[in-house]
């Protein structure tokens, strides 16, 4: 605890010491974002697979409108990233606290690069942990993995990144509990990320976050563009709750093949285990997802088929009875602007 306070003070001291009047090189304000919508049908006739987003059954449903503002002034920059819609609100994390679920902040932070190698960022940021992200433009598959659903979505805090080259970087930071605008607990989470790129096109991230009551997660996220057409990614993680024996672990493999510049096929295979708490049995699930990305300019169509199989009866069938397997199809449209 004392170490965390010292680290926090040190980071802010460096920031304050270096924050001098700058010759401002203003970049224009960039506004970008996306909208997404989908139709999903689960063959049980019920909402069934419990991973994040694309949950509505037999419904033409919406994801979110995502608006991102970004601007840089020489060494400083900001990002303001808000979303409106189910994907960015109730399906993502609890709303802003007023109970209305009106919108959600995805990113809201400022950064200061006090040298070419060191950058300090403060605010509410997309998590550094894991492979998949909330924004549908950042994922190949439209439905999400169990690893994503059960890991952190955002980490508010302060982080210091050291990047001596584009092949290596190290980040350390102090953060609130997962996914909250306001930290109501006394302690802070500690997080760290090591990035290495052994060869061009191969990125490896080792992520670590720990705290109370958040728990401890260690995560490996890596991806390799093996050829112009073929990409392989891997996400593996272990999470232990701060109290008790609960948690999860798992691994997901991502393989994508570009048939043309406009059409790609992607497969995600995941093995995931919920660790039983207080004498409960572990529950495992394997999920296989086949998606296509068909691009027409800024628009991407994503037809997708998914089948999940559990070690226990964690799904329901056509008759509403518990069963071990579930399958669904969906078609999503994602427009990035």
């Amino acid at each position: 605890m004392k170490i965390k306070k010292i680290l926090l003070i040190a980071i802010f001291s460096i920031f304050a010491f270096n924050l001098q009047a700058q010759d401002e090189e203003e970049s224009s304000l960039s506004i970008s974002g996306s909208v997404d919508t989908y139709y999903k049908y689960d063959f049980s006739g019920e909402e069934n697979i419990g991973t994040s987003f694309a949950n509505d059954q037999n419904s033409f449903s919406i994801g979110m409108v995502n608006l991102i503002m970004e601007q840089s002034f020489d060494k400083v920059s900001f990002v303001g990233d808000v979303s409106f819609g189910p994907r960015g609100q109730a399906q993502s994390i609890p709303d802003g606290g007023d109970g209305t679920g009106s919108f959600h902040i995805q990113n809201l932070y400022v950064s200061y690069a006090f040298t070419d190698q060191f950058t300090l960022s403060v605010g509410y940021m997309g998590t550094f942990v894991g492979y998949e992200v909330i924004s549908p433009t950042g994922n190949f598959n439209y439905s999400t993995s169990y690893l994503f659903t059960n890991g952190p979505f955002q980490n508010a805090g302060v982080k210091l990144q050291y990047a001596p080259s584009d092949r290596f970087s190290l980040m350390v930071g102090l953060f609130n509990d997962w996914n909250v605008y306001t930290d109501l607990t006394k302690s802070k989470d500690f997080g760290a990320q090591l990035f290495v790129a052994p060869v061009e096109g191969w990125d490896v991230y080792v992520n670590f976050v720990t705290g109370d009551p958040s728990g401890t997660e260690i995560d490996l996220t890596t991806g390799y563009q093996i050829t112009d057409e073929f990409y392989l990614g891997l996400n593996a993680a272990n999470y232990d709750a701060a109290e008790g024996d609960g948690g999860f672990n798992g691994a997901a493999l991502y393989a994508q093949y570009g048939l043309t510049d406009a059409v790609s096929l992607g497969f995600r295979g995941e093995a995931f285990k919920f660790k039983g708490d207080a004498g409960e049995e572990d529950t495992s699930v394997a999920a296989f997802t086949l998606s296509a990305n068909i691009k027409s300019g800024p628009l991407t169509f994503i037809p997708e088929f998914r089948i999940d199989s559990g070690s226990d009866e964690i799904f329901v069938d056509n008759d509403g009875l518990a069963t071990k397997a579930a399958s669904q199809i969906l078609v999503a449209a994602v427009f990035a602007f």
């Binding site: 304000l29 990002v79 790129a197 510049d261 691009k295």
Partner: protein, 166 residues
């Protein structure tokens, strides 16, 4: 020389060499400049090329100035202008007998995508040669090729002016 002028043209009329690679290349005669003066001028010119940064690897000798795989950004207009990617290329200048042979070639497009923190960053390991057709958003692809053409032609005008001045 590896890159000879060739009347062949690619789809958007970018000049290509005999090997089919996009290549802006030619030989320029200089008037009353010493070998040393030419070399100095080329060095100055190379350091103002689009995308050049002091960290770039610049090889120079008395006869050759060479820059490999350095890039400049290209943009697309959505609500506001946003970076679409970077165009990487090689530049080489051979000085011989009072003449300069220049070449700009090996054009590769590295797309950018928005990361989890809301910022546009290079897509790791994805490089597409500018010679290839783009089966997707061809309008943006053509725009980038046009940007390359305009940028390189402007640089060639600058180079000619520099070498023709005392």
């Amino acid at each position: 020389m590896a890159c000879a002028a060739n009347p062949l043209f690619a789809q958007t009329e970018l000049p290509v060499n005999a090997a089919g690679k996009i290549c802006f290349c030619d030989t320029l005669a200089t008037n009353s400049l010493t070998h040393r003066q030419i070399n100095d001028k080329i060095l100055i010119f190379a350091k103002q090329l689009p995308g050049y940064e002091p960290t770039n690897d610049l090889h120079s000798s008395t006869d050759l100035v060479e820059l490999k795989a350095f890039g400049f950004p290209v943009y697309i207009k959505r609500i506001t202008q946003q970076i679409s990617g970077k165009i990487f290329y090689d530049a080489a200048f051979h000085v011989s007998d009072g003449k300069v042979f220049y070449s700009f070639t090996n054009f590769l497009y590295n797309p950018y995508a928005r990361n989890r923190y809301g910022k546009f960053v290079p897509e790791s390991g994805k490089y597409k040669p500018l010679e290839e057709d783009f089966r997707g958003n061809t309008k943006t692809w053509e725009k980038h090729r046009k940007t390359v053409e305009t940028t390189m032609e402007n640089q060639i005008v600058k180079l000619k002016f520099l070498l023709s001045s005392p």
